[in-house]
Symmetry: C2
Subunit: 548 residues, 2 copies
């Protein structure tokens, strides 16, 4: 039996079939022509290759880890050490910021490694083929390379690179990991500052300083792996890492123990609003809004000084430039002897230490970011004494400056910023403390003020007029705590499972204590004067964004 | 109109009413007698108080922070400095381990501060009243005190205290925070070791070494704030803090940057099993099982070396002595040049540094815990070279020792422990690496081995025969990664939203890299040789426990 043709028509050639045959003929002719062309090209290439004195000196490396890859075991250098490497043959890994063919005999590359960039020259010679020059000049931007070359002093300073006095005369050059083309965004666009707070789509349309389209925050965050390659972003996160380091260094020196408290909690703490719910096997659980209760329970367990660096989760539907649903808390809690100002003093010293050391250890990174955003230096009082302003005094300053507000009102964000400007004028400091907040606007576990029952032994810390820390003396007496829970607005039940373990923690001789919680991203944001907190989170989370 | 009586009978006194009247009379007489007794007692007390030469030297302090409290501003000392304090009048905060009245004129207290305990004597004299002796000897265990006293060398060593050569002759003594009686558990019971793994209720019933009832793990964890006061627990968590410190110290010295990756994720990673689901506003989100993908994306963002300390969440219904649903990951990821053994070498050096420094900086704490649990020292190879055992070699060792298993089988926990004993015998090391695991039992992003496609460039690290780290070279090429995702068992879709951002991260020139993730609690558990991982988590989380 004859099989039916694929066209489904067993009767003989139709119009369609004739058309098809003609098409196929055309195709076959084209194919033959292409083959001939290909052959000619291959022959030319083979001839070129035969002449290619550099054949072993460039190309794509087999993948590291694959069977074809043979390690060279050559030591790799760091371009930060360039001065010591002058006139030496070096090997290093880098990536391509920019590659261009200048002529058949000359290509230039801008190579980057960390925060350093250097110019590299690929010049045809007896030992270096034109094919290699062509290959080098056409490498796609962002590809990772292994470069062999000679470090030479330049005749005149290279404008386009951070290393101005040296360049690389390339002898070998291999692509280790090729970047696809086109890139979804250009790294150089990510280097330029965001307009205003970077929220809203209109930013995408606005034109930048140099007439280039601005890449808005959303595009950047959607392509975060590329966006983070920008030098400015490297600096931000190196500084963030530095703040963690300095926080621990200072506190460890003062006897603080690093703790890890649970982020999964059986009951929603602090009244239950703004808490994310988790499916925990067959029951609900909740994500910790802060390590507050646990760090206090540890003080009750006779850990006199504890610190924690960990994620903090807030199910707040706030779409502002200074809120995240997940951020990093720098928390501490400590016994004090007789006055909660012992805690406040330690917190002030901690921040002064961090500021001072950021200026020493992370000066370069700080300056790079601030100069891109035209941000002024962070001012600290010449006396070294942090302004401690009683809340009522802050209210008075604001009233004198024309704000209308009551003695026990909470400050709005614009009022906080206004107060920040007033404090800067009066005390010459971008960092200060507001002390003795009204009791009614603080959490129930806050110790009331001995001087005025409407106030409390609590404080906030501010940088450039924005809050970075909230802290207080906590109630360390179980009976007083129960009363505070019952008298809360709305009233709560101290015997409910949500409170029981917490309250019980204070029944067996807990010493007086206090502490505070910093927002790490805010410290970085306000240190650098950045417009949006999302810039200080590697992969920020807000009500709209949970990817990547 | 006459109001009806409360009994509801308006007709006159009934039998019940007569009974009631008789009762009330009796009550009134009792009340009068009690009043008379009270009066007599008060008069006696007033007389005593009038005679009480120590009236201002003891009692309950008003609450620190309350209006009645007046700070003394006296400097407080640390009992760790006792040698320098000999023959001095000192003031210090401490708590009561034990108080007892020896006679009307003499009371003894065991006082604790940190890991130190000291004996204190309250002896009646012309300057110190019998009332004060009585007060001191009756203070409830675990109350927090402020003690004034003279440091005196003892005639003979005090057996019951850690400070043996000095005692305190108390001059003043105030209760700062009184502990309620009775305590739900005794701290000294928490000092004694758990039997076996501490799981199961039968432990509660078993009798301890000295015939005391054993306080089981569940009771301890239910009263964790008290349980944690035990010295042994202080040591465990001071060591845990120390491991965090040493981890960062070593890696920072090698150029690692501390990162914080998001714990809230928009898609369930790594296939989606064992992931906790979160209600994220109007959609589902998931808790990070590991920072794996993010730390790799950061290497792709040109952060050459990153580290993270953060919570890791596993929705695994495992009720064993070595699983938690929330634990602390010590993670790192780094570029390497040509061979993933560069990463393995760094991980080995990191652990050797941690072990060495734990032995130096946390010797006292380590010894205290190990001696309570009769645990042997942690052995390291004298050569300083960590045993690196290829997986196939491990299989061979186990087979020779009688285990039955195939070349590419995963090891069971008992087999791992068995191998640990064999390695200890052969190499004299409690720490070792298994290298080149079968590809099929590793995550899809693991780089296959160039030598054998059934193996992979991956490794685990072990302490005392139990896994503490899993790590590998990762696939850094987007195409190979897509293929690995498609070929996974079960097959997955690399273009699904769960994978897209991750895979895209490798499209633009990511260098070869590898890393690993340690379980912090396991390092502490196996360093100390403890039977249950819950002992190394301040507030452990398992399928049964999410409180306190």
């Amino acid at each position: 039996m004859t099989e039916p043709s694929a066209s489904g028509d067993p009767q003989g050639p139709s119009k369609n079939a004739l058309k098809k045959a003609a098409k196929e003929k055309e195709k076959a002719e084209k194919k033959a022509a292409a083959k001939a062309r290909e052959l000619a090209e291959r022959q030319k290439k083979e001839a070129d290759d035969a002449n290619d004195v550099s054949a072993d000196c460039y190309g794509e490396l087999p993948m590291v880890g694959s069977p074809e890859f043979k390690p060279s075991n050559l030591p790799r250098v760091n371009l930060a050490d360039i001065v010591e490497l002058a006139d030496k043959e070096i090997v290093f890994r880098c990536w391509v910021e920019n590659a261009r063919v200048q002529s058949a005999k000359l290509a230039f590359l801008n190579l980057r490694q960390g925060l350093n960039t250097i110019q590299a020259v690929v010049a045809a010679s007896e030992k270096l083929s034109k094919q290699m020059v062509k290959f080098a000049g056409n490498i796609s931007t962002e590809s990772t390379l292994v470069v062999h070359g000679l470090v030479k002093k330049t005749q005149e300073a290279v404008k386009s690179a951070t290393i101005k006095d040296y360049e690389i005369h390339i002898t070998k050059l291999f692509i280790e990991a090729k970047a696809e083309v086109p890139l979804p965004m250009q790294i150089e666009d990510a280097e330029r500052p965001l307009p205003s707070e970077g929220l809203g789509n209109e930013d995408e349309k606005a034109a930048g300083d140099e007439g280039r389209p601005l890449v808005g925050l959303n595009t950047r965050l959607n392509n975060r792996t590329l966006d983070l390659r920008a030098k400015i972003n490297h600096c931000i996160f190196v500084i963030k890492s530095g703040v963690c380091e300095l926080f621990q260094e200072f506190l460890r020196g003062k006897g603080f123990v690093m703790i890890q408290t649970p982020k999964l909690q059986g009951a929603a703490s602090e009244g239950g609003s703004n808490v994310f719910e988790v499916k925990y096997f067959d029951r609900p659980a909740f994500l910790a809004q802060s390590p507050q209760w646990y760090k206090q329970m540890l003080v009750a367990s006779r850990f006199p000084r504890v610190m924690e660096i960990g994620p903090v989760f807030r199910a707040e539907n706030s779409n502002t430039a200074r809120h995240l649903t997940e951020f990093t808390g720098l928390d501490l809690e400590m016994e004090f002897q007789e006055n909660y100002h012992e805690v406040m003093g330690l917190l002030e010293d901690l921040m002064l230490f961090i500021f001072k050391e950021l200026n020493v250890r992370y000066k370069k990174e700080t300056e790079l970011v601030r100069s891109a955003y035209h941000v002024e230096d962070f001012k600290l009082p010449e006396s070294g004494k942090v302004p401690r302003i009683p809340f009522v005094e802050g209210i008075k300053m604001l009233r004198e400056a024309g704000e209308e507000l009551g003695d026990y009102d909470d400050l709005t964000t614009p009022q906080e910023k206004h107060l920040g400007r007033l404090v800067l004028e009066k005390y010459g400091s971008d960092f200060y403390v507001l002390d003795q907040f009204p009791l009614a606007i603080r959490p129930f576990y806050t110790m009331p003020s001995p001087a005025n029952p409407l106030l409390s032994n609590s404080y906030d810390m501010f940088m450039r007029g924005q809050e970075i820390l909230s802290g207080a003396q906590r109630i360390h007496d179980a009976e007083l705590l129960r009363k505070a829970i019952r008298n809360y607005d709305p009233p709560l039940d101290p015997d409910s499972p949500a409170f029981k373990d917490y309250v019980d923690g204070f029944r067996f001789g807990c010493p007086p204590h206090g502490g505070g919680g910093f927002g790490l991203e805010r410290i970085v944001q306000f240190w650098l004067g950045l417009p949006n907190i999302r810039m200080c989170s590697l992969f920020p989370r807000d009500p709209q964004r949970i990817m990547p």
